[in-house]
Symmetry: C2
């Protein structure tokens, strides 16, 4: 086990009826709030009114920054920064999924900065101070509600970059599984796949051979992601299925699973970010395709590890290592197919001829994330495994 620091001060309020606490939880951090949200679901579900009422009852003045889209844009975050400055906002409230929370974090980081917020993402500036962020999560998957990361897309440069800093932990996050009961099947599955992809990145990229504590945690969370997703697709109103998926996705990327693994990379996310930047595919959909291709490409190099995972997840028994590896990948592909995820670039509407362009797009983030192994040539080779 490698040395590590684990420090996650985010307060989680989990369960039915917790939405009404967003007012007092936010009021603890300031009097003037900016409410950040997405396009339509928050208002359709009635949550918008509930959240606003709670904030106002707690004595908060509320400015708004709506219309956050999936694969959120830095240009839109910049508008939020302007609004926050004009309104002298002291605290940012995110109500939505990962895109909304990441936009809120970018606003929280950008308001006190004397430079453009994108410079954090490109590594040109370091983060010194942020506004406090509270969140109401309405989509399980990203884990942003309890972690220190954010991902934005720069349309002008065609870059989708991620950035993390300990100051970006939300102060309080409210997780009411009930709010996710209206999430449609495809987005439910994409959220579960997102959680699984976080866990697989850690599980398969650690170079530490002695991580049984983390391995059991990750295996359990992958198993739960699949099982809970199945429950939610079978019965979208299954509260406990929604609860299991929501808490699993949160724990998958809150720092706990990676603590002690040493340096881990996000080589799969690297490639998916380019798919989202260039084609605006949903993140979870892109991850389904990339993780299958990546597993196939690493079948030999990581065979032992993939087989270990399969033996735990699918009780593969004492099959020989190569067979166990193949079976594990096949079982993951079967599960992805069963939740109607795309399995190939073709399923995403991306032609094979675009592979060089996608591979080239990964250069910038590979440099920022220091993924020296992810050369455009290797990325292209993995993408060719996404054609089958």
């Amino acid at each position: 086990m490698h040395n590590f620091v684990f420090h996650n001060p985010t307060k989680i309020l989990f369960g039915q009826g917790t939405i009404k606490t967003i007012g007092p939880e936010t009021r603890a951090w300031g009097k003037r709030a900016l409410l950040v949200y997405g396009r339509s679901s928050l208002k359709q579900s009635g949550l918008y009114e509930q959240i606003l009422a709670s904030l106002r009852t707690a004595g908060l003045e509320v400015a708004e920054h709506g219309d956050v889209r999936a694969n959120p844009l830095v240009a839109h975050a910049r508008q939020g920064i302007d609004t926050a400055r004009t309104q002298h906002v002291e605290v940012i409230v995110a109500a939505g999924g990962g895109s909304v929370i990441d936009t809120a974090k970018a606003i929280a980081a950008g308001v006190p900065a004397e430079h453009d917020v994108w410079k954090f993402f490109t590594g040109k500036k370091s983060l010194k101070t942020v506004l406090p962020v509270t969140t109401v999560l309405t989509l399980a998957g990203s884990g942003s509600e309890m972690n220190s990361g954010m991902v934005l897309t720069n349309e002008a440069t065609g870059e989708k970059f991620g950035f993390g800093h300990r100051l970006l932990h939300p102060k309080t996050s409210i997780l009411d599984p009930q709010t996710t009961c209206t999430v449609p099947p495809d987005q439910t599955a994409f959220g579960a796949i997102d959680a699984i992809s976080h866990l697989l990145e850690f599980y398969l990229t650690t170079a530490d051979p002695d991580t049984s504590v983390q391995d059991r945690l990750m295996e359990g969370l992958i198993e739960n992601s699949m099982a809970a997703c199945d429950r939610c697709l079978q019965d979208p109103l299954d509260y406990h299925g929604r609860a299991n998926l929501m808490w699993t996705a949160c724990l998958a990327l809150n720092g706990l699973t990676a603590a002690g693994l040493g340096r881990v990379g996000f080589p799969m996310h690297l490639i998916e970010h380019s798919l989202s930047a260039l084609y605006d595919v949903p993140h979870g959909a892109g991850m389904a395709v990339i993780l299958l291709g990546w597993l196939r490409a690493q079948q030999t190099a990581l065979g032992k590890r993939i087989a270990s995972l399969g033996r735990r997840l699918f009780a593969l028994g004492e099959a020989d290592p190569q067979l166990a590896t193949e079976q594990t990948i096949a079982r993951i592909a079967d599960w992805l197919a069963s939740v109607n995820a795309p399995l190939t670039l073709n399923d995403l509407g991306i032609p094979a001829a675009d592979i060089p362009r996608i591979a080239d797009n990964t250069r910038g983030l590979a440099r920022v994330w220091r993924l020296a192994d992810s050369t455009p040539e290797r990325v292209a080779a993995i993408l060719r495994h996404c054609l089958a």
Copy 2:
């Protein structure tokens, strides 16, 4: 899954070489520190000098409160409170295992209080404010380094009581597995058993039937407790075995495993506390005996749950439920025997004739902990299962 609040702000610095950070981590909370430690091991190992040097280099004035014993006494904590007040101490530094950390927490709670510290334990006073606590952990097991609980013994009344409050989370805990390489085999095993007993209390006392996230976490941690303990007993200098045991025991009782389980009790700890209060047996030794008796006593009522655990832990296959339950208890007993833990009251030197006296001693804590089911009659029945 039940509603829950999860908020654990303790900062963990884990790994070799982290001891030297105790100075700056403590200095962040004050200038005058009280260093709390045990009887001899800290000085024998050289850690005492290292910690003192780090504290002084960081500019701290250090008063001392040594000589904390296993099953620590409230009378001794009171002396620490007096010292802290006299020396105008601003921050408490614990260097040791659970007994030392719990004593430090009691001092931290007692210094600002205008009443005797024991009143927190008996539920007669509520906690309003505490001094900050930092810790250097030297024994894996209690989990006190990352939780909000403390347990002390009142010799005058023959009571061993536990108390928890969110203010009691240490600010920073330093976990260097290397410091535990000199822990003797019996104490190593007792620590692992302590961690397992925390997990089993949660696993077996939750009334929530839908907790697959927590179940996979707990099963993984129980498996790791056993496996890591085995490694440490085979080779006391196995750093990664020590690391796995240390991090596992910490995660077993840091709030994560119980979050979402609803109300869980500590009916096994209740009984063990009486053994420790009356006979001063090591906590882990007492827990080994009580958990076996408790499992046997609950064999019918909790059979399905015990069998589920066994299927996960020991790959028992598709045996019939009753057989799986018996096999699970037998496998746990075998493991306890393999690490030379006591298995019966007789092994602890406690005669069967004392059962009524022990059962009677549990009354007070059962009332404070609101364990209505743990009547002296039922406790006596469980204790009779500890004779075989």
